[in-house]
């Protein structure tokens, strides 16, 4: 037999978990990586085990399906689950297949400088055994045959005066606190921004005990209605979104929470933390209608204006991005994928929110298509056709979502010259205006160094799209376009470029990296798949200490997962292969 393909899946949210599931079903070995302790991602955020929630699914939709899939994947003998593992870098192989570097050139040990085949996906550089801000983690490398990126998205927040005050939360952060730790952000809360995500956020807050004073959707009734074409629930029902949104709407109604369209928070005020907010009616382009301002007393504010995909790993892998959707402002950039979720880079697949914001059901479908294809599964099997259809519905949903909830071009009108735009570095709007109107300073990198916007700890994850959008306004993209064109040796200026994708401590970086799993190890003839031997690094003879560590991790991993065996539960067409070996 040929060795099982080794698929590495980065991100264990709905898309990543579905990808792992499908890749296992197609017969692959899978390494599933996530920085969290538990799979689920942002969507199925689970309570830490220490809380021992009796009904963890109380605040969750689709919990039982997720839980079933989670068990199946983690317990699968061909799956290695790497919790609390960050991918801090991706290393692209040489085009000529010479190996990632010439042996000895980087003083690499020979086992690391070994040849790699042409068309191999990038090498993953991992930090194992701790959260994203952890320390003392072990540096590892992982070379797989295929890579599925499912890194998800985080919520986008547009700046407005006072948004940096304590007590102002991103909608996602507020929901995470409610869902993940059962912490309420405040007693009197306003939820504001744009998109259907505001509804579940409000519902989570209500359930966790906050009083939600109102939910403000910046989109005007006309825009929202036209975008959804008046049939939002019909479309959503195909995706299982309807129940969720209906539940949320019902919760709002039960608590008599007003849901107002065409209104936004344009200022937050308070001494040391938010005490009151100013809301205003908006025109369709999100400019403020003068005289409609209203002051509301709050002790917390949750804002979200759509989502930004986490693109640093796709960008590091060299994946082509597709441009923003019509009507979307700013960097509505996503990973370009084909019908099988292939990116422009050989053996690299993308699934979930990084290919378009379409919600968990669509992410699941994309993940399954990606995982199956990455594993080398047959392209024409019936389940795949179903998944593709579901994925296409998800994409249609994403397009509608974008049409119904575009970021209006008038939002910079909310800014004052002293409004903070980059919260990490406290860069204000004035500094950006000055840089972007100066001929010598407007190049993205020069402006970044000059204004420091995006140089802080969040590395432009929050302000990057905002700054890019502001710059484009000043420059007039067409006139200044060539400055952003990549020259040989110069990467394109994108707010998503972060060669170091997650912080790594200097001591962790300085220590040598051991290969986690050697992809050149193939199963011996006749050996059964699922034998534990395929999870023990082949280099154990050369470096006993490293392999000991790995083995311990594997044992830990197994003890975490349920011992349920799911062979046969999946009806996959290639199951013959396993027994034929």
């Amino acid at each position: 037999m040929t060795a099982a393909r080794h698929v590495a899946v980065v991100g264990a949210g709905p898309a990543g978990l579905a990808a792992a599931h499908a890749a296992l079903a197609a017969g692959a070995r899978v390494t599933l990586i996530d920085s969290a302790e538990q799979p689920g991602g942002q969507y199925h955020r689970t309570l830490p085990e220490a809380y021992a929630a009796e009904r963890p699914g109380e605040l969750q939709h689709g919990w039982s399906a997720f839980e079933r899939r989670r068990r199946q994947v983690l317990a699968h003998p061909r799956c290695t689950w790497l919790p609390e593992t960050s991918v801090w870098a991706l290393e692209r192989p040489d085009q000529d297949g010479e190996g990632t570097e010439r042996p000895g050139r980087l003083q690499e040990r020979p086992d690391q400088a070994r040849k790699r085949s042409v068309g191999a996906p990038p090498r993953l550089h991992l930090l194992c055994g701790g959260p994203v801000d952890g320390s003392g983690r072990t540096r590892r490398t992982l070379d797989a045959d295929a890579l599925v990126l499912a890194t998800g998205a985080h919520d986008r927040v547009l700046p407005f005066p006072g948004w940096q005050l304590p007590g102002v939360y991103s909608a996602g952060a507020a929901q995470a606190l409610a869902k993940g730790e059962r912490v309420v952000v405040g007693d009197r809360v306003v939820v504001a921004g744009s998109g259907p995500f505001l509804l579940p956020v409000a519902a989570s807050l209500l359930e966790a005990g906050s009083r939600v004073r109102e939910v403000l959707e910046a989109g005007t009734p006309g825009t929202v209605a036209r975008g959804w074409s008046g049939r939002p629930w019909e479309l959503a029902s195909q995706l299982g979104k309807a129940a969720e949104l209906k539940d949320c709407a019902a919760a709002l109604a039960r608590h008599r929470v007003p849901y107002r369209l065409g209104r936004a928070v344009v200022e937050a005020r308070g001494a040391g933390r938010v005490e009151e907010i100013v809301t205003a009616r908006l025109r369709p382009d999100w400019s403020v209608v003068p005289g409609t301002e209203r002051t509301v007393t709050v002790d917390a504010l949750c804002v979200g204006h759509g989502f930004s995909p986490q693109l640093e790993l796709p960008v590091a892998a060299g994946c082509a991005l597709r441009g923003e959707q019509p009507g979307r402002g700013g960097t509505g950039e996503f990973v370009a994928v084909d019908d099988e979720q292939r990116t422009s880079v050989p053996c690299v697949f993308a699934a979930g929110e990084i290919t378009g914001i379409a919600g968990a059901p669509a992410a699941c479908a994309e993940g399954a298509v990606a995982g199956w294809t990455a594993a080398g599964g047959a392209p024409s099997v019936q389940p795949l056709r179903v998944l593709r259809r579901s994925r296409d519905q998800g994409r249609a949903f994403a397009r509608r979502l974008a049409r119904a909830h575009p970021v209006g071009a008038g939002w910079p009108g909310w800014l004052r010259l002293d409004t903070v735009v980059c919260r990490c570095e406290e860069t204000d709007y004035r500094a950006l205006c000055e840089a972007f109107t100066s001929a010598a300073e407007s190049a993205p990198r020069v402006a970044k160094l000059g204004t420091r916007a995006g140089l802080g700890p969040c590395q432009a994850r929050i302000c990057g799209p905002t700054v890019t959008e502001l710059r484009d306004r000043f420059a007039g993209r067409a006139a200044d376009g060539p400055a952003e064109r990549p020259a040989d040796g110069l990467p394109a200026a994108t707010p998503h470029r972060r060669p170091i994708a997650q912080p790594i401590r200097l001591g962790e970086l300085a220590s040598p990296a051991a290969a986690l799993i050697d992809d050149e190890q193939h199963l011996p003839e006749g050996e059964q798949l699922g034998d534990a031997s395929d999870q023990i690094p082949s280099d154990s003879k050369q470096r006993p200490s490293a392999s000991d560590q790995t083995r311990t991790e594997d044992e830990q991993t197994r003890s975490r997962g349920e011992p349920t065996h799911i062979e046969g539960e999946q009806s996959h067409p290639d199951s013959e292969q396993e027994s034929d070996s």
Partner: protein, 439 residues
């Protein structure tokens, strides 16, 4: 020289410094860049203004000239207007001084001799006792064998420095054109009289090649290749820290790495803080062409070297890394002056990792040469006509290569000839050696 038209090719810090000097001298200056000003090598470095890492010789003389000029230039710019003064503030000029630390006996010996030779040529180099080093840099490794303090070393925010120089050039009448790439040169009677860009022909009396690591490719495109190649470097940036590193602190083996010509990876610890509190950690040197892929093992080697100097930084998170390409010349000397093969073409390039510091001195020397003023220092060592720049055998007359035949230049304007090839040029930018005009 009034009325002389100059096109500076490249709006990095060296181009900006040259443009400023020439514009202030009354020349009609246009600065042309295919990207944004300061967006390439200039904004991918650390902002070194160093004398400490240079052995006695022409480069040190240029460094000393530049070190003298920097405060003068910045103060002249600041005097122009309140806006200019704010811009000078953004240069973040900081004469923080450098401290070179040796961690081996051999390194101590080398450092002591090196510093003694530098003192002979008026570099301030003060040996530090262990106590003095601890007072100056409390977190540096106690396992050091020697340390020398160089109070003249300084640091700038390089993109801010380039912007200040360029804005001053514009205030003095220079014109900036960005996003416009040179596709080919146009020569008449052996003289470069114009460059073609996608927007048309740009004619001038003088062209200054200040394209940094792309100078070699650009010069080849103009028909007069020079041996300037990229040499990659990587820098790590930590999250902001309370004050931990007070000078520019580097390992004594840095000088060896700078001076080496190895293709292979050279790493050496260079550690310093920025105004915002982040610590910048370098340095690496690799000749890998314009390969901009991240190499984690390079970053790892850089981190390991830095921890040798500052063991207590082990727990500090690195939040960013960036890499850039230095303009490398095999003899490690800048190239400043007229091209002996093609009249009208001048070069101001090849500063390797020292271009930020050497920019203002380079601009001044270029002006001296263009205006035929007595130069502030001997410019002969930087001439274009030397073997390292033009290739072996060039010392006694340059032998025309088949790719740069003057024949076609004698035939007058090449506009008609080059027309169809422009399309080709755009498509083949990755292979500039095939793009030479007229071939």
């Amino acid at each position: 020289m009034n009325g002389t038209r100059v096109v500076v090719l490249g709006a990095g810090i060296v181009g900006a410094a040259c443009a400023r000097e020439l514009a202030l001298a009354g020349l009609e200056v246009t600065v042309l860049d295919r990207g944004g000003p300061g967006a390439a090598t200039t904004s991918h470095g650390e902002g070194n203004v160093l004398v400490s890492d240079k052995a006695p010789g022409p480069e040190l003389r240029l460094a000393q000239l530049s070190r003298r000029l920097w405060p003068e230039v910045l103060s002249a710019i600041a005097d122009r207007s309140p806006t200019a003064a704010r811009r000078v503030e953004a240069v973040e000029w900081h004469a923080k001084g450098g401290i070179v630390v040796a961690t081996t006996e051999e390194g101590a010996h080398g450092l002591t001799e090196f510093a003694a030779a530098q003192r002979e040529v008026q570099v301030r180099a003060e040996a530090l006792t262990a106590d003095a080093l601890r007072a100056a840099e409390p977190f540096v490794t106690p396992a050091h064998t020697a340390a020398v303090h160089y109070p003249e070393d300084a640091q700038v925010q390089p993109a801010g420095a380039a912007a200040a120089l360029l804005t001053d050039a514009l205030a003095a009448g220079a014109v900036l054109r960005t996003g416009e790439e040179v596709l080919a040169g146009v020569a008449r009677s052996g003289r470069l009289t114009g460059v073609r860009t996608p927007l048309g022909l740009l004619e001038a009396d003088l062209f200054v090649n200040a394209a940094g690591p792309w100078s070699g490719a650009l010069a080849a495109r103009l028909g007069a290749p020079v041996a300037v190649e990229p040499r990659r470097g990587d820098v790590l940036v930590t999250t902001p820290l309370p004050p931990t590193v007070f000078h520019k602190v580097y390992d004594a083996d840095y000088v060896g790495a700078v001076g080496s010509s190895e293709e292979e990876l050279q790493t050496s610890a260079v550690v310093e803080s920025t105004r915002a509190g982040s610590v910048l950690i370098g340095s690496s040197r690799r000749r890998v062409g314009f390969d901009d892929r991240l190499r984690p093992e390079v970053l790892s080697a850089v981190a390991a070297k830095a921890l040798r100097l500052f063991p207590s930084l082990a727990g500090v998170p690195v939040m960013r890394a960036y890499g850039g390409f230095r303009p490398y010349v095999p003899d490690h000397l800048p190239v400043i002056g007229p091209d002996p093969r093609l009249a009208g073409l001048w070069h101001a390039s090849g500063h390797e990792g020292a271009g930020i510091g050497l920019s203002v001195g380079t601009g001044r020397l270029l002006r001296n040469l263009v205006l035929e003023e007595p130069p502030e220092i001997d410019t002969h060592p930087f001439r274009v006509d030397r073997p390292a720049v033009l290739g072996p055998g060039s010392e006694h007359g340059w032998a025309p290569s088949p790719t740069a035949e003057p024949r076609q230049r004698d035939t007058g304007p090449l506009q008609q000839d080059t027309g169809p090839q422009e399309q080709q040029h755009r498509g083949e930018e990755q292979e500039p050696e095939q793009n030479q005009e007229g071939t």
